[in-house]
């Protein structure tokens, strides 16, 4: 069982029911569950969308798009059925927050999905979990069955005219399927290759129908926004960054874990106070602030508020909220190599800049780390990554290029040191010292 952590600075909104048996429907109801959806049934779609807009809730999947705005893009009239999709592919390294939501509060995902359906006029929702999350899929499936039994799902939900069905779905291993259009392809029983945009999913999505796709944390937050009121929710965060976020702090800290903190919470404080500082009293070398695709920050750059705008201003991204802390005895070249190996493995191969770019970066960095680097490699890595940026079919190419550029720019000296030391001058014991490829 993943360990739950706690800190006095936390503001528990989304995690309020964690560790309290709320996966069971009676307990969820006791803890105030399914009240928000009843309120929405009484208030109607326009009200829901306005509340979501006013709440300042922004997508927790990575891009941080306003949830209320996204919902408002769905056309009112549509010849084809509309759909809601919950994105539970959660595969960005450093990210494990949705894991806890599915485990501890699956009904909040169901309730949020119904509310999204009411808001845009969809009658069916899909909850897609990565294939590795089988035990969580089973939790979700039990919760969905309970909701059907109580008449919260199906025809005439909560004794009204409204209808809403939920279908759960398992993936089978693919980071790229987390990209929204690739996820729709996968849900249609195809290879997870992304679609060209526009048209955007809100207009042409699953089975060609208008579709809202949101991250699982975004959806699980929705009932809380409705229950506490948009204004109260927005007041917790910073301007245009409403509420809280589930920050997953991992790597070299004393107390790793998923902490729910207000948007805009100071990153330095998050590492040194909430997570107990760098493990073993070591120094801090670098921080990856929002999952592996976000550019690295130096220790002198972390005195910032963790919201989408402030992290953006610092030259990185809030991303998925996965904060990876790196101590001063870590080899950044190896870290960069491991990061790019992931993207090379996960590139779907559809477009050339991503397929070839990630592969070349992986090969170059592997050779470089093994002690066979050339001085020209450093600029070549930059050149390769810069030429991927913005030139790939979907953002996976950017997700691979951005962190690579960050490592090379901010740790150039460490790359240069590798030209002189063979093997890696920063090597830990037991690191496979690869031979030339």
């Amino acid at each position: 069982m993943p360990r739950l952590v706690s800190h006095p600075d936390e503001v528990k909104i989304v995690t309020r029911r964690f560790g309290q048996g709320a996966a069971q429907i009676d307990r969820y109801l006791e803890l105030g569950g399914y009240e928000a959806v009843k309120k929405c049934l009484a208030q109607g779609p326009e009200w829901i969308v306005e509340e979501m807009k006013a709440s300042g809730l922004r997508g927790r999947g990575g891009a941080g798009f306003s949830t209320g705005m996204k919902w408002s893009f769905v056309p009112k009239q549509s010849a084809k059925p509309k759909y809601i999709i919950v994105n539970g592919d959660e595969s960005e390294p450093g990210t494990c927050k949705d894991h806890l939501i599915f485990l501890h509060d699956p009904h909040s995902v169901i309730e949020g999905t119904i509310i999204a359906g009411l808001a845009v006029g969809a009658k069916m929702g899909f909850i897609y979990l990565r294939g590795e999350y089988r035990y969580l899929l089973e939790k979700m499936e039990r919760a969905v069955a309970e909701a059907y039994e109580r008449g919260f799902l199906g025809k005439n939900i909560f004794g009204t005219e409204a209808e809403f069905q939920i279908v759960t779905q398992s993936g089978a291993g693919a980071y790229e399927v987390g990209e929204e259009s690739a996820l729709m392809e996968s849900l249609e029983g195809k290879r997870g290759v992304p679609r060209i945009k526009p048209p955007f999913p809100a207009v042409v999505g699953l089975y060609g129908g208008p579709t809202v796709i949101n991250n699982a944390e975004t959806i699980a937050t929705v009932p809380h926004v409705i229950a506490m009121g948009a204004a109260a929710y927005a007041a917790v965060g910073t301007p245009r960054n409403g509420g809280t976020r589930l920050f997953g702090i991992s790597g070299h800290v004393e107390r790793p874990g998923v902490y729910e903190l207000p948007m805009g919470y100071n990153l330095k404080k998050m590492i040194y106070e909430v997570a107990g500082g760098v493990r073993g009293g070591r120094g801090l070398k670098a921080v990856v602030p929002g999952g592996s695709s976000t550019p690295v920050l130096l220790p002198e750059e972390i005195d910032i508020g963790m919201d989408f705008d402030q992290v953006g201003k610092a030259g990185s991204m809030l991303g998925s909220g996965g904060v990876v802390v790196i101590d001063d005895q870590t080899c950044i070249v190896e870290f960069a190599m491991r990061t790019i190996s992931f993207y090379a493995h996960e590139s779907c191969g559809w477009c050339i800049p991503c397929r070839e770019g990630t592969d070349w970066l992986k090969k170059t960095l592997t050779r470089f780390h093994a002690g066979f680097g050339q001085p020209s490699d450093i600029d070549n890595i930059r050149y390769l990554a810069e030429n991927m940026l913005g030139r790939t079919f979907c953002p996976l190419g950017d997700a691979a290029a951005m962190p690579t550029l960050g490592f090379v720019k901010k740790f150039r000296q460490e790359f240069e040191d590798h030209l002189h030391g063979k093997p890696c001058p920063y090597a830990r014991a037991g690191v496979p010292q690869l031979t030339v490829v």
Binding site: G94, L187, S292, F335
Partner: protein
């Protein structure tokens, strides 16, 4: 090795004359295709559930899935080869998947992975001679805050050290023995 090939060819012959799936799985897959507005949406989970029972996607499994969805076998293969959890060769009864991605790497994921290689005496992607264990390195499994983490089939084990490896393997060995006794 020779014995192994023989056993496999016997198994393949068996599967030609016998139903590919157990009655339970067949019933489950019958229900699965009815869940969706479009039948083909069942394809990805169907492949995974079939693999869970049969152990891998054999030719017979692929043909049966194609028949159930009503698409060509080639189409099924094209989809199946995309997903990293799907395999076309048998794995061990317990497939050990060690995450070495960044959060796990920082907390000793590679040391755990190496210890598994030593204890099992297999190389990456290898299967032990008794067929009990297979080992592979995997990408992030969504347990980064409880790193280093592994999955054995679908079970998570987290906050591991190299020293905890033998104990985990023993647990699965016992599980296999008890199952045999009860069978």
């Amino acid at each position: 090795m020779g014995a192994r090939v023989d056993r496999m060819s016997v198994e393949q012959k068996k599967s030609e004359s016998m139903p590919v799936f157990s009655p339970e799985l067949a019933a489950r897959l019958d229900a699965l295709v009815l869940k969706y507005p479009v039948k083909r949406s069942a394809l990805v989970p169907m492949l995974l559930y079939a693999q869970d029972e049969v152990g891998y996607l054999s030719d017979a499994v692929l043909a049966e899935v194609a028949r159930r969805i009503g698409i060509s076998e080639l189409d099924v293969r094209s989809v199946a080869t995309y997903y990293s959890m799907l395999r076309f060769k048998p794995a061990g009864k317990f497939n050990v998947q060690v995450c070495t991605n960044i959060s796990c790497m920082l907390r000793g994921g590679y040391e755990v992975y190496e210890r598994f290689q030593e204890e099992l005496g297999v190389a990456p992607k290898g299967v032990t001679p008794d067929g009990l264990f297979s080992l592979e390195e995997v990408e992030c499994i969504g347990a980064c805050c409880w790193a280093p983490a592994i999955q054995v089939n679908y079970d998570f084990h987290d906050e591991l050290t190299a020293e905890s490896v033998p104990g985990i393997l023993d647990r699965y060995r016992n599980l296999a023995q008890n199952k045999e006794k009860n069978a």
